[in-house]
């Protein structure tokens, strides 16, 4: 039970950590000042949520490991985030597409997590969802703006959605830890979110004059720690300071 709760929290937190790191990469590199600030603001929200989760996870471990150890010093195979969030910033359409496809899920997930019997997780969800509502507005807005924009922006937004679609199904896969947490009334049954998710996504895509991809084959593995080649590079940058200067603090 304790081990599965720990894994369950990591699954939630790792998604936000890795996505936050991807958005943070845009700091000083956004396509315009406003979007640059927006992306790094999203990143900051996600890191804040992650800290609450890792602090809780460290408490569950009950040894001398801290939130920083959990965030910074695990190996690639120990990260349990979905493949979607680790996909690289190929262009702004990919940044927005990835954010949008995750935000729709994130919002549905946190809505349910607020009802968790675990009061810490419920409190984190209750706090996070207010921020994620803004994220969802921001990313949906940009999907529409780019999709229903110029010929060029439309084509690139469509390409990003098509390219990322293969990673969406994994959001609704259950691990053993998930199943136990659902049975305990702590976790969210993600399989039940799937239909609403694809309906909501399709709604925005249609409004954005984009096609909903008709893909039948999906990628998976992130929840088991088997990642795409992109995660290693991301972690190399994320962990560099702690590896080079162990126990360094701000």
């Amino acid at each position: 039970m304790k081990e599965n709760l720990y894994k369950y929290i990591l699954g939630i937190a790792d998604n936000s950590l890795i996505l936050g790191q991807r958005m943070g990469e845009l700091c000083g590199h956004g396509p315009s000042l406003e979007t640059d600030i927006a992306c790094t603001n999203l990143s900051l929200d996600l890191f804040g949520q992650v800290r609450s989760c890792y602090q809780y996870a460290a408490k569950i471990l009950g040894d001398d490991r801290t939130e920083d150890d959990i965030a910074m010093l695990r190996k690639e195979r120990d990260y349990l985030n979905v493949l979607l969030v680790e996909q690289p910033n190929r262009d702004f359409a990919y940044v927005i597409g990835r954010q949008f496809l995750f935000d729709v899920y994130h919002h549905l997930f946190l809505t349910e997590l607020q009802k968790s019997k675990d009061l810490t997780l419920a409190a984190i969800a209750n706090k996070s969802i207010k921020e994620v509502s803004y994220h969802l507005r921001f990313s949906s807005d940009w999907v529409k703006r780019l999709g229903d924009g110029t010929e060029e922006s439309h084509a690139r937004m469509q390409e990003a959605i098509d390219g990322l679609w293969t990673y969406t199904d994994e959001l609704f896969h259950q691990t053993e830890a998930d199943k136990e947490m659902v049975a305990e009334g702590i976790g969210v049954d993600v399989t039940k979110l799937k239909e609403t998710y694809y309906n909501n996504v399709a709604g925005v895509l249609t409004e954005a004059t984009l096609q909903v991809p008709e893909l039948k084959y999906f990628q998976k593995g992130g929840k088991q720690g088997i990642h795409t080649e992109h995660l290693g590079y991301l972690l190399a940058e994320l962990q560099y300071m702690q590896r080079a200067y162990p126990n360094m603090e701000w």
Partner: protein
């Protein structure tokens, strides 16, 4: 606005009022509504604060500032960060809202109006410089996570709008 869950020892209020939000220095943490409880037990002051946004980098500084203000008043202090109940912009006091406006930040509207401003581009946010409502949103995200960027179409000044969080 004082909510049921807020228990603050009267004697500690003047001390807490000296501590300001590092990102909005005109606002005390009391006016911000981030202090959820403060009490003295056996000579030690216990303070609970709650973050405005999860990633708010000001929280660590606020914690340190509380400890330092309390120690000047002769108290040893422990500060704890709590997440529940989650902070809402409704907890900013009327005095705090006034201070925000004077400082050049438009105070948060209610949730309904906030939505129509940020999503439908309705002109309801008043420019803190000239008072005109002929304003437009430049970006949903501003200088900090809690604000959006606006511009006044009359006096042309850019300004921050404190987003409603509920």
């Amino acid at each position: 606005m004082v909510t049921e869950k807020q228990h603050i020892d009267e004697a500690l209020i003047p001390i807490l009022e000296q501590v300001s939000d590092p990102e909005i220095p005109v606002l005390s943490i009391m006016d911000m509504g981030v202090v959820r409880s403060a009490s003295i037990k056996q000579g030690i002051v216990y303070v609970e604060i709650t973050p405005t946004y999860s990633g708010c980098p000001a929280m660590d500084v606020i914690g340190d500032d509380i400890i330092s203000a309390m120690s000047q008043a002769g108290y040893k202090t422990e500060v704890e960060l709590i997440l529940h109940p989650a902070w809402t912009t409704d907890w900013i006091t009327p005095k705090g809202r006034e201070a925000l406006e004077k400082y050049g930040i438009a105070a948060p509207l209610d949730a309904e109006a906030d939505k129509s401003v940020l999503l439908e581009g309705k002109q309801l946010v008043k420019c803190p410089q000239c008072g005109s409502k002929n304003t437009k949103m430049v970006s949903q995200f501003g200088s900090t996570a809690c604000k959006a960027q606006f511009q006044c179409e009359d006096c042309q000044e850019p300004f921050d709008y404190f987003k409603c969080l509920k």
